[in-house]
């Protein structure tokens, strides 16, 4: 019973993530790749993502602090960050990244700062959600 309940909970949580736009089809692809050979593939990838993306965030922060402002470099870093995020299916995050890049292109410092805050926030929110989801999913197994 409990198992079922947990499973059900996990499923709901998962669905919510999709419905609320946090995740997209790419996440499904990751799930598809999970099999006997790779039982925890999705979790592994997400973990890897979070350790790697922290690096990106830090880089952007450092670049934002520098003077004069280097939009190109920012755009560059963000491009990579966006690539990673899209690989795990982080939908909202991807949108924020694109927005950030737009501001970079037009050289809008204010816009960049603002958007970056949102990026950081989304990043953190998604991380928490995914963590609890995985935890639940593992328990439910």
């Amino acid at each position: 019973m409990e198992g079922h309940q947990l499973q059900h909970q996990a499923a709901c949580m998962r669905k919510a993530l999709f419905d609320q736009g946090y995740l997209d089809d790419q996440f499904l692809q990751l799930e598809d790749l999970e099999d006997e050979a790779n039982p925890n593939f999705v979790e592994e990838v997400v973990k890897l993502y979070y350790s790697d993306s922290a690096r990106f965030i830090r880089n952007i922060e450092l670049t934002l602090d520098k003077n004069p402002f280097d939009f190109e470099k920012l755009d560059d870093i963000m491009h990579q960050f966006k690539g990673s995020s899209s690989s795990i299916g982080a939908k909202k995050l991807k949108t924020e990244c694109t927005q950030f890049q737009e501001y970079c292109k037009i050289g809008n410092f204010e816009g960049c700062m603002r958007t970056f805050q949102e990026v950081k926030q989304e990043h953190a929110v998604l991380k928490k959600k995914l963590e609890s989801y995985f935890q639940l999913a593992r328990q439910a197994r």
């Binding site: 491009h79 690539g83 990673s84 690989s87």
Partner: protein
């Protein structure tokens, strides 16, 4: 970095694509891991690395270790495109680009650098399931190309040389040709040896990337364009995996290109070079769009620039060479056209100058490919060349004129074209020169152009400027037999010249067709020949061969701006009689041509041209050509137009054909072949 053991070949061949050996390169660990898993899921053997240098090292250690490379575009230690180039050059493996950025410009860049595919992150498994096709495709085409190119090189050289001497009549030029030929022949021999062992020694496909071409140009400049020999260039360039043959063929194209473009062209040339020689399909990308630009630009001669950029690659250059002459302007007055096919043919024969297009072609192609839509051209082997030319012609004409000046051949016409086009019927003469009377390459075209333009001009053909001022054209006059003679076109030669350039500046339209056919007669084996044929149709019908579509488009385009550019296409004017190969196309071409010309005429002068056309004897020719003209060509155009269009058609057709030829990868040296075309006719 994980390394997987490479299984035996047996596994690969038995169960392909299972076991496909892929090397994945991406600095992003998440993407790399994902990619690896996806590939494994497809049952491929995957080796991953996050550093491009490491990837290169692995590839160099054992060229047979991998079947395919997937690389990210954005990497810290090396640009993905650079890696792509190197892999393509050294190992000749298919490379797939990967990027989070799906901007078409980047995709285009990838393609021009030689990527066989471009995937956008996040990658899906369905996309990866099909990547094995690239491996098969490359294997197949590579071995075929290698053998073919060797053969072509030899045959081309031979034919070219013969013609070259005939038309060029220039000691230096012939000398150059001879020298080139020798070099190339040597190379072909080398290649021949190599191709004996395709499995062990796959000749890397040369992608003339921007960087590579830059090196090439630097080497050439260092040696001096006149003294630049493939061997020395190769030594100077010091690029691994590049053979003398590659350099030689590229040099040929480059020379033609230079002729075609003058100062303006420089930019374009770069673009072309950058594009490198690509498969015809690739080149085809050029579509007409460029043409449209040309047209509009046509007036001022700006086209050249516009058109050129899209030009995909050297390949095109080579082929285009001939069409360049397009200067068709010559709308060769009815008188010229008059000569029934037979006459035309003969006329064309005299014209040979048409050949000059080769010079132009380089420029022509540049513009053309993009506009002409090489694809279409390809269809008709010949037609493409022609088509291209047409489109290019317009632009080319301008550029060509410029280009020619490079060589100092007096392209003058090009400039004059612009001037002349405006409606100076006389111009035609000059136009031909554009063609390239340029020295080495095939200035022949020059002659044609003038003749045509003159004619057309006289006809009243829409001023399309094609007709370069006779005065300026002087240089062009060089070859054109009678055509150039300022007399305007009527003389028929214009056709010849025109053909080559296909530029058929509008004016050429009518009269030229006749000439063109002759030139076309050249028995080119390549598509070019075909093109010629088409153009030869005598009616000046557009070289129908080349995808008529293109022509039509071109014609249309031309029509607008027609001012100047028309000439080119029309120049094709298939000689109908003269060229046997052409004859095929000719029949149809004539039709097309007529139609085409009709187009031109209509658009251009808003009927002015058409009037002219009708007046011209062209009608006669037109009908003839019609029958002959190849189907494709501009058939749409009102046949009633009269002959005037004819000239165009042929020119265009020629151009297209020419272009097509170039496109055809098979004939790497096609470009050179163009010379032959014009010559052929001349004969």
């Amino acid at each position: 970095m994980t390394v997987e053991k490479i299984r035996g070949d047996n596994e690969n061949s038995d169960n392909f694509p299972v076991g496909l050996r892929v090397l994945a390169v991406d600095d992003d660990p998440i993407c790399l891991k994902l990619l690896e898993t996806l590939l494994r899921k497809c049952q491929y053997h995957v080796t991953t690395t996050s550093q491009a240098r490491m990837a290169l090292k692995m590839l160099r250690e054992n060229k047979d270790r991998f079947d395919l490379v997937i690389s990210d575009v954005h990497m810290p230690d090396m640009d993905g495109f650079k890696l792509l180039e190197l892999v393509g050059l050294e190992m000749d493996l298919p490379v797939i680009m990967l990027s989070a950025n799906g901007d078409p410009k980047l995709v285009m860049k990838g393609v021009t650098h030689g990527a066989c595919d471009y995937l956008v992150k996040p990658v899906r498994i369905e996309e990866l399931r099909n990547i094995w096709q690239h491996v098969i495709r490359r294997k197949k085409f590579d071995s075929r190309n290698q053998n073919k190119s060797a053969e072509h090189v030899k045959s081309h050289h031979a034919s070219r040389e013969g013609h070259g001497s005939a038309t060029m009549g220039n000691a230096d030029q012939s000398g150059k040709f001879n020298r080139k030929r020798k070099d190339e022949e040597d190379e072909s021999e080398d290649n021949g040896n190599e191709s004996e062992d395709p499995a062990t020694q796959k000749k890397p496909r040369v992608v003339w990337s921007i960087e590579l071409h830059r090196k090439f140009v630097a080497a050439v400049n260092q040696l001096g364009i006149e003294k630049a020999v493939p061997k020395r260039i190769l030594d100077l360039m010091n690029v691994e995996g590049l053979t003398r043959e590659n350099v030689a063929s590229h040099l040929q194209k480059y020379r033609l290109y230079l002729k075609r473009i003058s100062s303006v062209a420089t930019q374009q040339a770069n673009m072309v070079a950058a594009l490198g020689v690509k498969d015809s399909p690739f080149m085809r990308i050029g579509p007409f769009e460029g043409l449209g630009d040309f047209r509009t630009l046509a007036g001022p001669g700006r086209l050249a620039n516009a058109g050129l950029s899209p030009y995909t690659t050297g390949g095109m250059l080579g082929r285009l060479n001939t069409p360049a002459n397009v200067n068709l302007h010559n709308l060769t007055p009815p008188a010229l056209l008059q000569p029934t096919h037979a006459q035309n043919i003969t006329a064309i024969g005299e014209m040979h100058p048409i050949l000059s297009p080769t010079n132009q072609s380089p420029s022509l192609f540049q513009g053309m490919p993009s506009s002409l839509e090489l694809d279409q051209l390809q269809q008709n082997k010949c037609s493409t060349g022609i088509v291209n030319f047409n489109a290019v012609d317009d632009s080319r004409m301008y550029t060509a004129s410029n280009a020619f000046t490079d060589t100092g051949t007096a392209i003058g016409s090009s400039t004059s074209i612009v001037n002349g086009i405006q409606g100076t019927p006389v111009m035609l003469h000059g136009n031909s020169q554009q063609t390239l009377s340029g020295g080495g390459f095939g200035c022949h075209s020059s002659h044609n152009m003038t003749s045509f333009s003159l004619e057309s001009l006289t006809a009243g053909v829409n001023g399309s400027s094609n007709l370069l001022d006779p005065g300026s054209i002087e240089s062009c006059k060089v070859q054109p037999n009678s055509v150039l003679s300022t007399d305007p076109f009527h003389s028929q030669l214009p056709l010849n010249g025109v053909r080559e350039n296909n530029f058929s500046n509008g004016s050429y339209l009518h009269n030229n067709p006749v000439d063109i056919s002759t030139t076309m007669a050249l028995p080119f084996e390549d598509s070019r020949e075909m093109q010629c044929q088409e153009s030869l149709v005598g009616n000046v019908q557009n070289i129908t061969q080349t995808p008529s579509q293109k022509w039509c488009e071109q014609g249309q385009n031309y029509s607008h701006s027609s001012k100047t550019t028309f000439g080119s296409s029309d120049s094709y004017i298939p000689a109908n009689g003269a060229v046997s190969p052409l004859s095929r196309s000719m029949g149809q071409d004539s039709e097309i041509f007529n139609q085409k010309t009709g187009m031109f005429i209509n658009s251009r002068s808003t009927g002015g041209a058409s009037n002219l056309m009708q007046k011209n004897e062209n009608e006669k020719l037109a009908t003839e050509s019609r029958a002959r003209s190849n189907e494709n060509f501009l058939l749409e155009q009102p046949k009633s137009r009269g002959f005037v269009p004819r000239s165009y058609d042929s020119l265009d057709a020629m151009m297209n054909a020419m272009i097509k030829r170039e496109q055809d990868e098979a004939i790497p040296n096609c470009d050179f072949g163009f010379d032959d075309y014009s010559f052929g006719a001349a004969m």
